[in-house]
Amino acid sequence: MQLLNQSIAQMLDFAAPILLASLGGVISENAGVVNIALEGIMRFAAFFGVWGSAVSKNSWVGLLWGIGIGILVGAFHAYITVKWAGDQIVSGIAINVMSLGIITYFLELIFRTTGYSPSVQYFGSATNRINLSFLSKIPVLGAFSRLTIFVWFSLVFTWGLHFLLYHTVLGLRIRSVGENPIAAETLGVNVFKIKWFSVIIGAIFAAIGGVALSLGTMASFNNTGVAGGKGFIALAAMIFGKWTPFGAMWASFLFASAQVLQFILQATATGIAAQIPVGFYLALPYILTIGALIGVVGKAIGPAADGVPYKKES
């Protein structure tokens, strides 16, 4: 029983950053803007979150710093892709490439180290978790008894985004812009404003996901370990989830479960199973993902005008 709860909790921990970033992708692409810079944004936010926490000795301030850099990077991406109708993929790549360079630069500048930062206040410490210890004896629900706020953020935001997109006026307009921006324009919808909004909110989500990576369960920033492809997995989760918030959630759970499964198998493997080299276990989540893609509908169709730069007719 403990194992079940522990595993679920672990899964949620893994899933939270991916889900958050994936939600960022969902809102952005529903408005028609592709954002493959989720990886870079997560990295930026992870670093700035640690920096903020170090400076203020308060993890919440760190979170705010992370969100702040997310807004900045999001605005950068929006400036290129919305205002100048630039190539969305190229802009995303630019952000990803610069992230490593800029962060290493700052790491050295501020912390005088080359790969990692010192430990700071983080959300994973016993005092900072959301304690619902009364749940701890109940199966399944027990998993929720000591989670970080990021897991809660990810779940609440999933509901929130779903509600926004499918039950509010703003959500309707966002989706219309991603499907047929010209039609939306003819009805007086401000396409540019909506795209800017969606990109920046998306960046904020991804940034929170990034902070989750460094301030969530760890307490520092590690240059090679952080993000490490999570941003791209978030993209995969978004496509897998057919560009919907709940779809992204289940997809993130799937990926995270595969990771946890791999741990469990490694830990409990006996006999022949113990002989299997660790590489196979580590590769398992990715193999399973491809398998799932082949099994589930292969072709995923996104918003009709996704990725198409919007140029106003003169």
Binding site: R175, E179, L187
Partner: protein, 506 residues
């Protein structure tokens, strides 16, 4: 009282002067038709009024007040509405969502969907435009989609309604329905601007007609004081009655046949139901029907894009087991498409690269996989000349050519490949009179050479004028087979709506 007035409107695009000092005045409560050939500037003018374009210079007056219209939001506020030629609808959304977008009933931030549905129903009842508010637009036939567009602008209280080529996709019956609606709207006090190049319709519905040619306003006449011929003259500057060349060709061997073919569309619905017919050499078989009754399924099945659930397709008597564009072409098929952007051409490719597509692997254009530029150039120059493509620049990218010239490029490409069966799907869509006549001439030339042609078209005059036999497609079935001599447009229209059947008497 003047409802809408434009004074000295000039619109300059990078390489074309679309509107050249246009001044006209539309009275309240009238139906004003704006006619002209493709590219005459009528759409552009109205898009300026609607706020999609800004004029290079000139002024707009709405109800006698000078107005500055920068965006559609502005014109909507001024009670101007526009139903566009290409529908501005979101296929995945429902009718209601499409209609209320931009003006949604709300409860705070929430989208009050149920109230929206109610409002849409009320609107639909008030103007007699029946629709199902909860249906997804992508599932609706084109005629109904147009109703959604009209309701969209009525909802915003439009007093001046602009229609851009609204009957392009309607049957005669649906057109009559539309005209009834327009007359009702006029009785309601609305002002209507009707853009079209179909002179017979204009003569029926309009009060006054404004003719545009090459960006300039040629003149305004009262309907009662003019006729089609005169309008045509003003539009083109010469006598225009679409000439279909004479050709008396004897029918020959069977070149193409489909037998008991049934096709499902991507949604899984059976959209072509057990259809059988043949095409013989030296004849043109025309498929008439409203868009969406199985034509797309037929074409895609013949190309091999959609696999038929049953039935077979044969060329020259040989059944084709594995249907792919390559196999069909090797066996003798050529294909003219109406979708120039997607299917007909690779727009960023130069004209010379486009014109050899399909035979690029053959000698002399390539040898063992290596392209032979010289041969390609010679061929391309020859073909562009032969098919009167302008400008005669084989290194120009296809996207830089006008619609008519792009279509000629497609014709040059397809006709120069060896074939004895031609599948022509809406070959004159979006073309002006000159280009259309060219296409007709080419088709008849092919017929004379003994090619069998399957012509799919939405234009009844075209079908009547070109076909030797006409098959009417309704709801995925052939509901009638006639010859042009035995029937008329009215009867065809009835068959296209499923209201009449005429089996071929053997």
């Amino acid at each position: 009282m003047e409802a809408l007035g434009v004074r000295n409107i000039v619109k300059q695009f990078p390489n074309v002067l679309a509107n050249d000092n246009v001044t006209l005045s539309i009275q309240e409560g009238e139906i004003f038709a704006l006619v002209g050939e493709n590219g005459a500037g009528k759409s552009t003018l109205m898009k300026i009024v609607y706020g999609l374009y800004t004029p290079t210079s000139g002024e707009i007056y709405v109800f006698s007040k000078k107005e500055d219209i920068k965006t559609p939001e502005d014109s909507i506020k001024l009670k101007i509405g526009m139903v566009h030629q290409e529908f501005m609808l979101i296929p995945r959304f429902t009718v209601t969502e499409n209609i209320v977008l931009g003006d949604e009933p709300r409860k705070g931030f929430l989208f009050d969907y149920s109230r929206a549905v109610k409002e849409v129903k009320e609107l639909s009842d008030k103007f007699g435009l029946k629709i199902d508010p909860t249906e997804k637009v992508e599932n609706l036939p084109v005629g109904i989609q147009q109703r959604v567009e009209i309701l969209k602008i009525l909802r915003r209280g439009a007093e001046i309604l602009i229609f851009d080529e609204p009957t392009a996709v309607l049957t005669p019956e649906e057109t009559e329905e539309l005209f009834k609606t327009l007359r009702a709207l006029k009785d309601n006090g609305k002002t209507i601007v009707f853009i079209s190049h179909k002179l017979n319709e204009v003569m029926e519905i309009a009060d006054r007609v404004g003719v545009m040619r090459k960006g300039k306003l040629q003149g305004i006449v009262n309907k009662t004081e003019t006729n089609e011929r005169e309008l045509a003259l003003m539009m083109v500057g010469r006598d225009v009655v679409l000439e279909v060349p004479e050709a008396d060709v004897k029918r020959g061997e069977e070149v193409f046949s489909v037998s008991n073919i049934s096709v499902k569309n991507p949604k899984g619905l059976l959209s072509l139901k057990v259809v059988s017919f043949s095409v013989y050499s030296g004849e043109i078989v025309g498929i008439a029907g409203v868009e969406g009754n199985g034509q797309a399924e037929l074409v895609n099945a013949i190309l091999g894009f959609w696999k038929p659930v049953s039935g077979k397709i044969s060329i020259n008597g040989e059944e084709i087991k594995l249907i792919t564009p390559y196999n069909m072409r090797t066996k003798g098929m050529a294909y003219i498409t109406e979708d120039r952007k997607r299917r007909g051409l690779v727009l960023p490719f130069k004209a010379r690269e486009n014109v050899i597509m399909g035979q690029h692997t053959l000698y002399p254009f390539s040898n063992k996989g290596v392209l032979n530029d010289k041969e390609i150039d010679t061929f391309a120059t020859k073909k562009l000349q032969e098919f009167d493509v302008r400008p005669l620049d084989i290194c120009s990218k296809a996207e830089s050519f006008s619609g008519g010239n792009q279509q000629k490029l497609i014709l040059a490409k397809e006709m120069s490949m060896k074939h004895n069966f031609l599948l022509a799907s809406q070959p004159t869509r979006g073309l002006d009179v000159g280009a259309t006549e060219f296409v007709y001439r080419m088709l008849v030339e092919e017929k004379k050479k003994g090619i069998g042609i399957l012509l799919i078209s939405l234009e009844l005059t075209e079908i009547m004028g070109l076909s030797d036999r006409i098959l009417v497609l309704y709801n995925g079935e052939i509901v009638g087979e006639v010859t042009p001599n035995e029937t008329n447009e009215e009867e065809l229209g009835l068959m296209m709506l499923g209201l009449k059947r005429k089996e071929k008497v053997q």
